[in-house]
Each structure stands twice: as C-alpha cells, then as structure tokens.
C-alpha cells in the first residue's frame, strides 16, 4: 500500500519542520554555553547548514524511484553492507526516540503529572505511535500537517500576550557577546541536532515524486523550521534573559509560566505544553517509523506488523529503563554532537558510491 503513496509538498515541508523543531527541548540550552546571546542566530544558521545534505538525499533518491536509501545501498554494495548500516541506523533511531520520549515524559511529570508513573505516559505515547503507523503513511503525514500548524499557532499565540511588557530588548541586544569559535561551535552542534530530519528523509524519499526536481520542498521546510526555531529561542531569551534561559530544562514551558493575565490567569504553560505534546508524538512516531522501515527491509518486508510491535517495544523498554530527563538530555546531546550527522554523511557517501557502482555495471552491459 505504501509503495504507491505520494507525499504532497506541504507534507514534506511539515514533516521536516516537526523533525527539526522538536529539538528545541534540549539543543538551545546546550548551545547557549558557546553562543551566548547569539543562540537564536546560531540556531538559524545551524539548521540551514543541513540543506546541502538534504538536497544530496533528494538527488541520490532520484536514482532509485520509490526506494529508500537502503534499497540504493543494497543494489550497489550488497545485502551484507546494507544490513550492517541498517542495524546502526535502527539503533540510532531508537536512541533518538528514547531520548525524546524521556524528555517529554519528564516534562509532563515536572509540571503536570507528578505522581503518575512514567511508564504509563511512555506506553500511551508509544501506543499512539503504533496506532498511527499501523495505518497508511499518508494518514500520518496528514496528521503531522494538522498538528504542526495547530502547534505553531498555539505556541506563538501564547507568547503574543507578552508583548511588550515581558519582552526585554536589553536581553537580546547586543546580539554577539561570544567569540567566533563559540558561535561556529554552536552552529555545528545545531546542525548535528537538526540532522535528525535527515534520518527521516532517508526513508520517506521513496514517497516524494521526482525528488531531484522537487528538492525545493525540503529547502522550504528547512528554511521555515530555521525561522520558527530561531524566533522561539529569541522569545525565550527576551523573556527570561540569556543568563537564566541557558540553564532551564524546558524553555518554552518555563517562559509561558511567567505570562499572567490579571489576577486569575497565572501562566499559560498548558498551551505550550500542548504544542510540545504534538511535537513529541510526531517525532517519536517518525523515528519509530524509520527504525521499522529499516528492520522490515532487513527481513524482506515479512510480517510488518510484528516488526512494528518489536520496534515499539525496543523503544519502550530502554525508555522505561532510562527514566531520567538528565540522562535523556545527555544522550540527545551526545547523538547530536558526535553521531547523527557523521553517520548520515557516511551513508550518503556509501549511497553515492553504490549508485556509481550500479551505473558502471549498466555501462559494461549495454541496455
């Protein structure tokens, strides 16, 4: 069924948007140490930095219509290399999902459900992901469209109420109070985090019609994510001061707690929480989908539902075992800093080599 599915331009834009914007939960706090007040600018630049890699994926995808990057790897480099790369890919996707699931669960526990056991929240989130993926991928893409738009409107509507009383220009000007080295370090880290989007692109490329011609879709998605992400960081900084914002665990929710309207409306964190909920469920489902797709490929698409359940359990069990915001935060930072982007570049290089090998084979036997 999925083989004939096609994503629209809006779906590609918003899928990439959610996969990038979800990182605001941890990236900002970490990069702020290096970038200082310029963190919003560094986030903007860092996200844009992944455009060449996404265009690369689109061009690689062109050579194998309706196939994922792993189909391309298998065609040129053989099954063994593909299985090896796929296993690492599955592991990384599970790690990303575990980190996000833990961070979201702990946020929920800190602010709203102090006494609810974390495994209940995690189970609920994972079950929702399984439910979404057990249907057509297009249905999930449509859901992402709706939730991304609702979440963004919801987030910024809450913060519109702070203008101008809680928006302090002196906290954001001057923009540069850091060294060039610090700024570049922040940009590279942001690019590492934003490259989570590329993990998804590697498998959804097969649903994008004529990818080489439609590479502007992903460029638009990444640029809009960069603008929204930078705007969110800017608002949090202007509300809380860079000194406080860089040490908080849940930026948007903490900032929304400061908003009050009159005597009785104290804090709008519930609204911002709703946005985080949308983002978290979409992100966790996305990485479950990525891991599931790669595992299905290894087993030649036999018993896909069984694979989906196994993948979900592989996310659920480590999440329950980890059960810590701080550990999940450092896991996400570690993945963004050292793992995701280098691994994706390696896959892209291998995929390009695979295409060259395939083309050479074709060249030796005239068609």
């Amino acid at each position: 069924m999925d083989g004939t599915a096609r994503f629209t331009r809006e779906q590609v834009i918003l899928l990439s948007f959610i996969s990038i914007i979800g990182n605001i939960a941890y990236i900002y706090t970490w990069m702020d140490e290096d970038t200082g007040r310029a963190s919003w600018l560094a986030s903007f630049a860092g996200i844009l930095l992944i455009i060449p890699f996404s265009v690369w994926i689109f061009h690689v995808g062109e050579s194998y219509p309706e196939g994922t990057i792993f189909d391309i790897l298998e065609t040129g480099l053989g099954k063994f290399v593909n299985i090896f790369i796929s296993l690492i890919y599955i592991f990384i996707n599970i790690a990303v999902a575990v980190a996000h699931l833990n961070m979201f669960t702990e946020m929920l526990k800190v602010f709203f459900l102090q006494y609810t056991p974390p495994w209940v929240i995690m189970a609920c989130m994972i079950l929702m992901g399984v439910l979404f993926l057990s249907g057509k991928i297009q249905s999930f893409a449509r859901l992402v469209e709706i939730l991304a738009v609702l979440g963004t409107i919801n987030y910024f509507m809450s913060f519109m109420l702070i203008f101008p009383s809680n928006f302090h220009l002196e906290y954001i000007i001057p923009v540069f109070d850091t060294s060039l080295y610090g700024f570049i370090k922040g940009v590279v880290f942001m690019a590492g985090g934003a490259s989570e989007c590329l993990l998804l692109l590697m498998v959804i490329i097969r649903f994008i019609p004529d990818p080489a011609r439609h590479f502007t879709w992903i460029v638009k998605g990444i640029v809009s994510s960069a603008i929204i992400f930078a705007a969110a960081v800017l608002i949090i900084t202007a509300m809380m001061s860079p000194e406080l914002a860089k040490r908080i665990a849940f930026g948007g929710v903490n900032a929304a707690r400061l908003i009050h309207i009159g005597e009785f409306i104290q804090g709008l964190e519930l609204f911002v929480f709703a946005t985080y909920q949308f983002i978290a469920i979409c992100k966790i489902t996305m990485y479950m989908y990525c891991a599931w797709t790669a595992s299905k490929k290894i087993f030649n698409n036999k018993k896909p539902l069984l694979h989906l359940f196994i993948t979900s359990i592989m996310i659920f069990l480590p999440s329950v075992w980890l059960n810590s915001y701080n550990k999940a935060y450092y896991l996400a930072v570690f993945l963004a800093e050292y793992i995701i982007l280098p691994f994706l570049i390696l896959i892209l290089l291998l995929a390009s080599i695979s295409i060259m090998i395939k083309n050479n084979r074709r060249g030796s036997v005239p068609e």
Partner: protein, 415 residues
Amino acid sequence: MKVKLFLLSMVILTQLFLSGCWDYSEYDDMVAIMTIGIDFNTDTKEMTVTVQHIPAVKGGMISGAESRPIPSQVGVVHSATDKTYYGALAKLQQLIPKQLFFGYLKIMIVGESAAKYKMKDIMELHDRTPAIRNSAFIAIVSGKAEDTISTMDVESVMSSGQEISRLINLSSNTGAAYPVTIQDFVTMMAIGGLEAVLPHITTTVYQNQRVEAKGGTVSGFKADEQREGDQLLSGSAAFKGNTLAGWMDAKESLGYGWITGKNIHAYETSGVVGGEDTEDIIYYRISKSKSKIKVQIVDGEPTVAVDVNVSAEMRKYYGNKGSEFLSPDELKTIQEALSDSIRSDIHAALTKAQKEFKSDIFGFGFALFRKNPHLWRTKYEKKWDDIFPDIPIDIKVDSKIINTGTNIKKLDTKK
C-alpha cells in the same frame, strides 16, 4: 481492522489512567497559599517559614448596611521552623490538614536576616520548583517576615499578603519602590553589572510587639498568629550580590527610579517640604518618565551619562511669589525647579549606592557590557565592584510641564 481497534482501545485505556489515578485532586482538598514568609535565625541557624491562606469554609459575611467579611477570612497564618527552608515548608503540612497549593501565591516576603544570609538558597529552590510561581511579587521586611505577615488590619477585607501585594502594585504612584517578581529578582541576581532592588515593607506597630499565636505554640510550630496593625511600603532594599546591602528611603528610591527609567506617577515638589515656606513650593504630578544610560570609556576609564526625561502636570503654584499668568517663560522657570528636584533625588540615590552600598543597582556595568561585551568580560567584569564607587556620573534632567492643571492663572485671594 481488529488490530487497529485493539490499538485504539489500548490508547484510550491508558489515557484514562494518565490523570485519573495518580494526580487527581479536588480543589476542596487543597489550601491556596497567598503569602510565604521566610526568616532565618542567626543564633540557631534555623529557617522559619510562615504561610498565609484563606480558610475555605469558615467565616462568611457580617450582614447589615456595613457588610464586611469576618476577621478570620482575611487570612490564617501558620509557621514552622526547621534547619532548612524546604524542611520548614514541608513541616507546615503537619499543621495544615489540606494539600498546600501555591498556584495563586501573591507574594513572598523575606525577613532581614534571611535576606542577608540565605537569599541564594531560597532563590535556588524557587527557580527550580514548578510548584511555586515565579510571577509572584517579592519584598523584604525589616525584622521578621513572620511578624509582618501576621500583622492584620481587622477592619480590612484583605489578607496582609494581599494588602502588601496591592501596595507594591500601586508603588509607581509614590516611587517609594517598584514591583519585582521572583523571576525578576532571580534575573537581577544572575545578570553581571546589575544588582537587585526590592520593595521594603515595614509595619505600623512596634517591631517588638508580641505576635499572639491563637492556635498555640509547640516546638517548631506556631498556629494562627495575629497582631493588629498595618503594612507600610517604606522604600526599597538594595542588594549586593546575594546579600542585602541596606535600605533606601522614598527619596532615594525615587532617584533610583529616575535613573533606571521606571514608570513613575509620583508626586514631586520643587523644594523640601518643611525646609522653607511651604506656600512657595510647587507640586507636580509626574505623568511620564524615561531615562537613557550611556557608558563611555574616556582616557581608559568608564564614565556614565544619564539622561532623564520627565513629563509632569502642575498641581500647585507659588503661594506668595511668581507671576500672574503661567506664561511659557514662567513655565520654563517651573520646569527648572522640577529638574532641580529630580536631580536632588538622583544624587541621593547615587550617593547611597556608590558610597554606602558600593552596589551597582542602576545597571551601569550591564550598560557597559551591552556597549562592549568583549571589553566588559576581559577588563571590567571582575573588578567592577572596585571601580563602581568612583565612576564619574553626568546627570542631565529634561523636565517638561505639559499642563498646569485646570487653571492657567495664579489663584488670587483677598488680602
């Protein structure tokens, strides 16, 4: 299809557990804390936490023409003492038979000793806990916070915490202090080159007057504390780092407000009331105030220029002197008199901060950082405390009288 139905039912089932089983709480089972007071005993090294809440059931309105709530509705005050702030806060649950709920906290009041020795500890907890909202006001009291919170006006319809909160809300009408939330205070503690200033509250009763614990006193607990009196917004409390540096009176606070560009709607006079014939003093009502702080490096040393712009309306003209008509020329003279008065407030504040507290409450260091972050970090940040007391400050006040009230002529009376 069966699989999807199964998944859907599982999702619905788990969602039922989310808020229903573990975190469910009835509002009637909670008690809304309006005020928290924190004291530190330097002898025993113990912290005392005082909370004020409104009883949910007891009380009602006294009927009749002068309908008013009975006194118990203006807030019940309990306190507990422990080695730590959090310990004392937790201990209160042994005394109050309902879940403590801090969602509607109005104000946090810190006693003098706690402000001197325990501010960082207190703020670390407040900055971390999600239970207590950082949008609540914070104020410092002379003496003990416990005494201030338990001082009640029995004729009032508000609790002492609410009264203090309202006083702080209206503080721009006097310029004696400026509203600061817990979040603002933590920010001021964190930003380099800027020290914190908080409202200073006193009571109208003698500090040593005994507070009666009507509900009794046992080791570490006091229940239903009360004494009669009222609260007073008497100025500001200046900090240096995490420590209370000292008090500023209303004039010095006003000077602080002029420099930092606070929203002031205060009453101002052209001279010192009581220092000369009060009939020849002009009264003004400030309608708008702005300021600009510029820090420059001159001959390798930082210098500060403060431009203050004030708009005011005249409320009283000279009694014995002055011209018949309030012409533009006459207005110029009146404006000068206002500028002089504002300048004297500013000098009072500067002298106190630079010479006595040696604390940069005006944020001159922060202004230098904003002008040149690199220079601040490499040269001035570490030695700013030594440099600040001797920085030359150039004050420029530009006052504008936008109207002279309902009259444009002097009041003529029979001789």
